[in-house]
Each structure stands twice: as C-alpha cells, then as structure tokens.
C-alpha cells in the first residue's frame, strides 16, 4: 500500500519543513574502535574479528586513540567545542548484529558539541546548519536476511551475520533542528550531507564512500503550518545512502507528511525505510522518545581526556576548510565562476580533482565529467561519482584521442563500453574494432575519390577557400564509416591540393 502524497508545491504552500540529520561517518582507522582487529571493508565475512568484536565472555574494550583524534578533527572542522572530559555509555538492546547486545556509544557526554556548518546552495546563498554534537560510537555487524520477504528480518527463513563491521569506529554528527529552509529543504539536505562528506574526506579520517556505507544519513523531517513555532511530529528515514537519495527522501517525506496532515491524521513518529527503486519510504519501526536503551556510563572504559594542548595540536593539522579549498581549486583550474559552480552543483569537484591528479588537464577533466559523465549519471539516477568511471579511465580515453587512435565520437562509445563492463578502453577499442584508420594509403584513395566526386569544391579550396574543405572531409569520413582521423584527413587534403592550412 503506497502512501498518499501532495505535490511538493502544494506541500510548501501549506507547510514549513523542519529538518534534522544524523550522519554516521565510518572512520578509516587501521583497527577497530575497541579492538585490534583490522578495520577493512569487503573481506570474507567474519575474518576481521577477534574475541572482543565477537563479544566473547571476559573481553574488555580498549579505545582506539586514532579514532579519538579523528573525532576531534571532525569536531573542529564542524566548528564544535571539544569536551575536555567525556565518557562512553552502554546503549542496551538485544539484536543479533550487536555482539554484546549493547552498543558502546557516547550518550550525554559527546566529544564535540555546539558547532555549525555553512552550506552554500546552488544559487550561491549560504545557509548555516547548527551542529548539536558529534559523538563516537561503534558500528554494528551486518545482517543479511535470507528467504522471506524483501530482505527484512520479519519473515526471513534465516539470517546471516557478518561481524567484520562490528566495532568499526563511527562518528555520529547530529544537527540541531534546521528551520527556515522552506522549499530549498531537499537541496539543503543534499548539500549538507555533501558538505559533511567533503569535510571528512579532506580530513583523511574516512574513505567517505557513500556506496560502501562510509557515510550514512538518517534524515528527520517534520512539517508545521506556516507561522507556528512548535515542531510537528517527525519521521526518521534511515540509511539514505547517496546524495541524490537524501534529496529525494526529504522531498518525498515532505510530500507524504503534508498529505497525512491534510487528511487530519497525526503523523506517526517512526522510522522509515527508503526505497531507491520506487523513490518512496515505507513504515519501519514505531519509535518514540520512550525507547528505553537503559544507558549507563561504560564501566570498562575510563573517561576520554582531551587536553587543550592536544586539541590545539590537532587543530594545527587540519587541512584548509572547504570554502577556501574551493577558491583554491577554482583558481588552480582556471574555471569561470559559472563553470565552477556547475561543477560543485553536479557534485563532481572531488572527481575532477582526482582526474587531474591522475594526469588530465583541468579542461579535459571538466569536459569529460560535465560533458559526458554527469548526463549519464542523471539518466542512470545515481551520483556521478558512483557511476563507475575511474579517473584513470578518463586519462586513458583522452590520451587515445590525443594520440589520434580514436576520435571523440568513438571515445564516447568506448566510455559506454566501460560503463557496460566490457573492459578497459584499450580492450573495448580492440573488441569493437574502433581504431581510427591511420594508414594514409586507404585514406589517400578515399580522398582522391572525394575530390573527384566534387571537382568544384576542390577548385574552391585550390583557390584559397580553405573553409570549403568540410565537404571533402565529410565525404572521406562517410567513405571510411567514421573511422578516419578527421584532422589527418584535412592535412592530407591540403597537402594534396598544395594549399597552406
């Protein structure tokens, strides 16, 4: 049963959205939050675990100092205050992905609190999002529900659990309620998560790959009639794991809430599951403030003491803030304001930087990402970075074009081949027989034929009207079914007719 929704414009006309975000950032420390087991993604299930991660009897946690450093850096980058003393607590609940049946997490004493993040929207305006806190916790294991319906635990025949992720260090960044975004709420949502992702990536504290769950977003949405101060009842959409999905999920929830409120029913306080395929949410678990996790201070850990000296040492290591970085990149790359903003809004700034680092020029990188990949990503409905184009691929493709091995038209075809998983550009060129005809012999024959077919054009060129050459080149390309290098064809024609280009 799908929920009724209003159009976004209708919803905005009647209601004022209030947002809130909990963004979980997986830290890329070598080892886990409380154990010496490796923190590595994608290995065989249950190989990166030791007795601590499995919650064996008698084990004790030992806090990862690098994780604390990373957390402080995140706090500082979010303009937070850093607690001099803070503790962990136990969040008690029974669930098989949590080996101890409690999660060790900070609760009422976060390491970082009272910060803000300035978010630049597509029209250039800056929106300040206030950060309530950033706290440390451990990730849970990963459950895979087999059989039954829709991969949910309810009705599954059995479930598999992989504890490789159990104990991976997390920082949870919680915003204060975000008011006043109005119809820009979905855009702000996406821009906020993108900004957090950019920060943790630049800090080097997280791999920040959303498709791997390194950055995960829970989006809280509530609506209230315009002019009312009191917040409406919120829903929390869990694990919205791409930037586009964040935007869509917030938009959808606004539309859904509006319909519920219009019907005179109260909004149910609950978690919602996001479905990428239908771009809708469905009801998850009823959640109320009365959920009782029986928090109490973790007695197996001592308080975390962050001396002011240490905090200042870490502050000194922080990379340039994103706004400054943007300024620097724009100037390094020589993009116009408009070009740069388009790049930022398309969400490919990091990708372009990586492509340039891989050997492309700034203009080549922009040409590929903005000209080819962003459009394809849009059609495929994914973030451009998730489409699967590696910077090295772009460099390789571009080199083939520059070397005259393929032309631009072929290059886009090869790109499609890469995206279809047919192999590397070189393999695809080989497989599809796309090589530009570079042997002058067959070209000269085709040129002779084209000149003979259009003698008046040949005469015009001889007479100095070089621009007329297009017709002859076109004829040659047609004859070679597009496989000729148009530049070389042009050179050969001019040479043949004894005209200076």
């Amino acid at each position: 049963m799908s929920d009724a929704i209003l159009t976004f414009d209708e919803a905005m006309e009647k209601y004022d959205p209030v947002l809130g975000f909990e963004v979980h950032v997986e830290l890329n420390t070598k080892t886990k939050m409380f154990s010496s087991a490796p923190n590595v993604f994608g290995d065989e299930p249950n190989t990166n675990v030791n007795e601590v991660d499995l919650g064996m009897p008698g084990v004790l946690p030992v806090l990862n100092k690098t994780a604390v450093e990373s957390s402080i850096k995140i706090g500082l980058a979010l303009n937070c205050k850093i607690a001099e003393n803070c503790r962990f607590a136990r969040k008690n609940y029974f669930y098989p992905d949590t080996p101890k049946n409690f999660q060790t997490s900070q609760y009422d004493e976060p390491i970082a609190y009272d910060g803000y993040l300035d978010i630049e929207l597509s029209d250039g305006t800056v929106f300040r999002v206030e950060i309530e806190r950033a706290h440390m916790e451990e990730d849970a294991g990963k459950l895979t529900h087999m059989g039954g319906s829709a991969g949910r635990i309810q009705g599954a025949d059995y479930s598999l659990v992989d504890y490789n992720r159990a104990g991976v260090p997390l920082v949870e960044i919680v915003t204060k309620p975000i008011q006043g975004a109005g119809s820009r709420a979905p855009e702000l949502a996406k821009a906020y998560v993108a900004a957090v992702r950019e920060i943790v990536k630049n800090l080097g504290v997280s791999d920040a790959r959303m498709e791997r769950g390194n950055v995960r977003c829970d989006a809280n949405v509530s609506l209230r009639p315009h002019g009312r101060e009191r917040f409406g009842i919120r829903s929390e959409t869990k694990n919205v794991n791409s930037l586009r999905a964040v935007e869509h999920a917030v938009r959808y929830e606004i539309q859904r809430h509006a319909a519920v409120l219009d019907s005179g029913e109260p909004v149910v306080q609950e978690t919602r599951h996001w479905h990428e395929d239908t771009r809708t949410t469905t009801s998850g678990r009823a959640k109320s403030d009365a959920d009782d996790y029986r928090y109490f201070p973790e007695p197996d850990l001592v308080p975390v003491v962050a001396s002011r000296e240490w905090v200042e040492e870490l502050r000194a290591t922080l990379p340039e803030p994103p706004a400054e970085r943007r300024k620097r990149l724009q100037s390094d790359w020589g993009y116009s304001d408009l070009e740069f903003r388009d790049v930022v809004n398309a969400g490919v700034m990091d990708e372009i930087e990586e492509t340039i680092a891989a050997g492309a020029t700034a203009s080549v990188a922009r040409k590929w990402w903005m000209g080819e990949i962003v459009g394809r990503a849009k059609n495929a409905d994914v973030d451009p970075g998730q489409l699967g184009v590696a910077p090295a691929t772009i460099v390789e493709l571009n080199k083939m074009v520059e070397d005259g091995k393929i032309n631009n038209k072929m290059a886009t075809e090869v790109l499609d081949g890469v995206l279809a998983g047919e192999g590397t550009p070189a393999e695809i060129v080989e497989k599809r027989g796309l090589a530009v005809v570079s042997d002058d012999g067959p070209l000269l024959e085709a040129i002779d034929a084209a000149l003979a077919a259009q003698p008046d054009v040949a005469n015009k060129i001889r007479g100095g009207k070089v621009q007329a050459i297009g017709a002859i080149v076109g004829g040659v390309m047609k004859a070679t079914r597009g496989q000729a290098d148009a530049g070389r064809v042009r050179e050969l024609i001019l040479e043949k007719l004894g005209v200076e280009g």
Binding site: P57, G58, Y95, D292, F296, P299
Partner: protein, 526 residues
C-alpha cells in the same frame, strides 16, 4: 614460617606445604614439579569427587598440568640460564576460578548457558601463570556468574566446606577457597565483586586478597559488575598470597581500567615482620551488633595482638557504610544486567529453540536465557534492568553512585586517621547448606563487611583469626588499606598471622578435620 606439617616430601605431606615452601623445595630440587603436581591431583581424586566430596573443581586439567610440571623439571634438570630464569613459583600448581577464561579447558562461569563453550583466548592472569610455568590444576566451582555467597547457586551443584561438609564454603569463590583449605591446591585465583574472595577465605580458614581496583587485569574474567570486579589470590598463608599477587598484578594494556603504576614489592612487605607505630583503625560500623559472638571475640583478640605488636589502635567511623549493601545491590545488578546480555545463544554456548512457533530471534534468545540462567542470575538481571530503566535511573543507579562517592569519602577520612582498617570479614561463620537459599536478603547480608572495599576500589585481605567458640568454625579478619597500598595489607597481615599462629599453636587450618575420613570417596575426579 608457616608450616602445615613437617618438612616431609611424601605425597600426603607435600600437599600440606605452603606455596613458598614448595617453591623452595623445587628450587633445591628436593622434589620435582611432577611429584608436587601429581600429589595435588591425587588429593583432588581422593577428596573432591563423590556424593560427599568437597566438589571444589568443575574440571581437572590433569594432562596439561603434568606436562607443564614436566617441562619445569626438564628445564631445572638441564640447568644453565633457562633454569636460572625460571620464576620462583615455577612448578607450584594452582587452581583457577571457573569465571576466568582458559584455552584448552572449559570455562563455564558455573552456568549452563556456557555449555560447550571453549575460550579461544587466555585471560591475562592465565597468561601470566603460564609464563611463570605454574601448572593449572583445573577450574574451580562458583556461584553462577559469581552471584552468591555460598556456591549453592552453581549450576553444577554446591561445593562443601572442608571444615564441615554440610556447610557452605562461602561464595562466590567457594571452590577456590575450599580447594586450598582441603589441600587440593596450594594456591588459587578468585574474583571478588562484593567479597567473593574474602568471605570464602573467612569461612574456610584461608587467606584471600581483593587487590586495589585496577591492580590486576580483569581481561578474561567474565564480568559480573565491571566497576567492582577484581581478580585476586587465594592461599593458606599471607606470604603465599603476596607471591601470587606479584605474579598476576601490574598494568595490562588490554584492560583500560588497569592502573599504570608499577607493582609494589608485596613479597618484601609480607616479610617486613614489624608493625610498630602503625595506626590500625577499627571501623565502628563493621562489628558489634549483627555479628556472631564468636566472630566478635576473635576480632577483639586480633586487636589485642596488633596492639601487643606495637600498633596503635584507633576507632574510625564510616557512617555511610550502612548504605553500602543497598547501593551495591543496585550498581552490581545494573552492570550485570548489561554484562550478561551477550549470553543469548547467537554466537556461542547454549542455544535453546522455543517449543512452538514462531521461531523469531527474540524467542530463541528468550528460550536460551530462560533455560540457561539460574534463579539468582535472573533475579539480578531483573533487578538491574529495572534500576537502569528510564524514569528510575536517577532514583536507583544515580543515587547508588552518589552513595559510592560517600563511601569513598568515608574511607578517605578513615585513612587520614589510620594506615590500615580492620574488621571481621563476615558476620558469621559458615552456615549450613540450604539454610539461606530461600532468603536472598539473608544471603546478601553475608557481604556487609566486604562490600565497602569494592564500592571504593580499595584493597582488602582476609586471614583466619581463629575458631569461633560456639561452633569451632573459622573466623575471618579483614584488613583494608587505601587504594594502591596493597603492600600494607601484606605487612600487617603477615605479622597478625604469625601472632595468631603462636596463640593457636599453629596454623588454624591444621586443626581442620581430616577429609579422607569424612569423604565417602568414590574416587576419581570430574
């Protein structure tokens, strides 16, 4: 030097040697480690099994213990650097409370819920025992998850008190205390959350020490209440406890609550032999009313002996100790309710499937915990879950933490007046098996004098102070010192021990009945 018998080396005499004596004889190659270990294994076989056996052991580790002993003998026989480097206690066997995990032996915590589980790792203290090449004789019985004062809450049946097989050996570490009292082991490891080393020591006439919180690594001790638990030595003499404490103590990077301090020379402290001018404080609130007359008499006698030895006796008041038991029974179950959540049948141990559909994870967890945990464990989980619940947290857990601070302040004030505090360890001598099983509150009251030390993290030692007039059963004297000053306990304890032995004409345990006559042994061990 304490001796339980002459200097004999026959098997029956060997087991009556203290650990220090065995260490000397082993070093002098008067006896072999295999002989010593075998003598204790034989003793276990003779008195531990059967319907009337002591039942101190849940598992006997015969092969491995003998292999370690043989290794020690080989090294000693070869001589040279390797023999020189052997630890003083190498070849001295030891029993380990079955709350402490060991590779190669089962670890049950006295519970059915760990059925079939084998630890893939050694507790830090066990690693240290292995490094010292001390043969581990086996795992000793305890109240389930160390919850109890009598070992009657063990899922594998109670341990009997070697002084009277119809009485309790104390708890939770009744197995370790009884094993040492029954000469089945010269040394044992215990854990003490509210008195689980000291109270069994008191009622079995043995010595038990709860070190300063953080003084001995807890890594590998199955947690009951993390902020209160502490591993410590069990022995027949104060010096032996110091020797063992020296092996197991010190900082452990695997335990965040472990103290960074280097370990003091506790053995040297036990050998000082002089307490002149030390101030010993009597805690007004921890004797008198509610304490058995025979206990009170032995306590007063010890005070007299300490005074004779040149100590100054002062009285201190710890007015908040009266809240200690109540606060303990909020903090301990709260932490336990969370610590025991991991036993759910998902990853290891017992898994019980519900008899009817639906087969959900919650129901499997529920069925497993219902079948796997005993009544006392369930009682404490329920109590702790309630105390931590939203809306009750401040009134219960929060208030209990405040009491804890007040108890710490009481100790601070008392230690401003006295170097060491003294009290009876337990209000009574050993009670009969079954006597308090249906009255949890009466059971809890056993720990009234031992709990304050856990609440404040200070070290405590119990040593035998003689026999009660009315029942002829051992009485324990408790010494308490400030945190990190465990050495004072050994200094005062060893002096008091020698004065008491002079008064009683030998070690208290020497007057324990001969078990071989009492135990209708069916032979063999579990």
């Amino acid at each position: 030097m304490t001796e339980f018998n002459t200097t004999g080396t026959s098997a029956s005499e060997l087991i009556r040697n203290s650990a220090a004596q065995l260490a000397e004889k082993l070093a002098a190659r008067e006896v072999s480690a295999v002989e010593v270990t075998q003598a204790h294994l034989d003793r276990i076989a003779a008195v531990d099994g059967g319907d009337r056996g002591v039942h101190a052991f849940l598992h006997v580790n015969t092969e491995e213990a003998l292999a370690v002993a043989a290794e020690v003998d080989t090294i000693r026989a070869a001589g040279g650097a390797a023999a020189e480097e052997l630890h003083a206690l190498a070849g001295v066997p030891i029993a380990v409370k079955d709350l402490i995990v060991t590779i190669g032996q089962p670890t049950t915590a006295g519970s059915k819920i760990l059925e079939g589980w084998r630890s893939p790792y050694d507790a830090t203290v066990v690693k240290k025992l292995r490094a010292a090449k001390m043969p581990i004789l086996g795992k000793t019985n305890l109240d389930e998850f160390a919850m109890g004062s009598s070992t009657e809450h063990s899922a594998f049946g109670p341990t009997r008190n070697p002084w009277d097989l119809d009485r309790i050996p104390g708890g939770s570490g009744g197995g370790s205390a009884a094993a040492v009292a029954a000469f089945e082991a010269p040394l044992a490891l215990g854990t003490d959350t509210g008195g689980s080393i000291r109270q069994p020591g008191a009622v079995t006439g043995t010595v038990g020490v709860k070190p300063t919180y953080g003084g001995v690594s807890r890594y590998g001790a199955i947690a009951m209440a993390s902020s209160l638990d502490q591993i410590g030595p069990v022995s027949r003499t104060v010096l032996d406890s110091a020797l063992l404490h020296q092996v197991i103590g010190g900082h452990d990077p695997f335990d965040s609550t472990s103290l960074p301090d280097p370990l003091a020379d506790l053995v040297a402290a036990a050998r000082i032999g002089n307490i002149e001018g030390m101030k010993i404080g009597i805690i007004k609130e921890l004797h008198g009313e509610g304490y058995q007359a025979g206990v009170e008499n032995r306590f007063n006698e010890s005070l007299e002996l300490l005074k004779q030895a040149g100590a100054e006796i002062v009285e201190v008041s710890c007015p908040n100790f009266k809240y200690a038991l109540g606060a303990y029974y909020l903090i301990m179950p709260s932490e336990a309710s969370s610590n025991l959540a991991k036993f759910d049948g998902v990853r290891y141990g017992l898994r019980v499937l519900p008899e009817d559909a639906p087969m959900t994870i919650e129901r499997v967890m529920g069925a497993t915990r219902a079948a796997g945990f005993g009544d006392e464990v369930k009682r404490r989980i329920i109590l702790g879950t309630y105390a931590l619940s939203a809306g009750y947290y401040d009134a219960y857990y929060g208030s209990a933490q405040k009491v804890r601070t007040l108890i710490q302040r009481d100790f601070e004030a008392a230690f401003a007046k006295a170097d060491v505090l003294v009290s009876p360890t337990a209000p009574t001598t050993a009670f009969k098996l079954g006597e308090k099983l249906d009255d949890p509150l009466a059971m809890y009251l056993n720990d009234v004098a031992t709990i304050p030390a856990n609440m404040a993290g200070v070290p405590g030692l119990s040593l035998p102070g003689g026999l009660a007039d009315e029942d002829g059963l051992p009485v324990g004297i408790q010494l308490l010192a400030p945190a990190r000053e465990d050495a004072r306990l050994y200094r005062v304890g060893a002096v008091l021990e020698s004065l008491l032995e002079a008064k009683w004409g030998g070690p208290i345990l020497a007057s324990a009945p001969s078990l071989t006559e009492l135990v209708t042994s069916h032979g063999g061990s579990r």
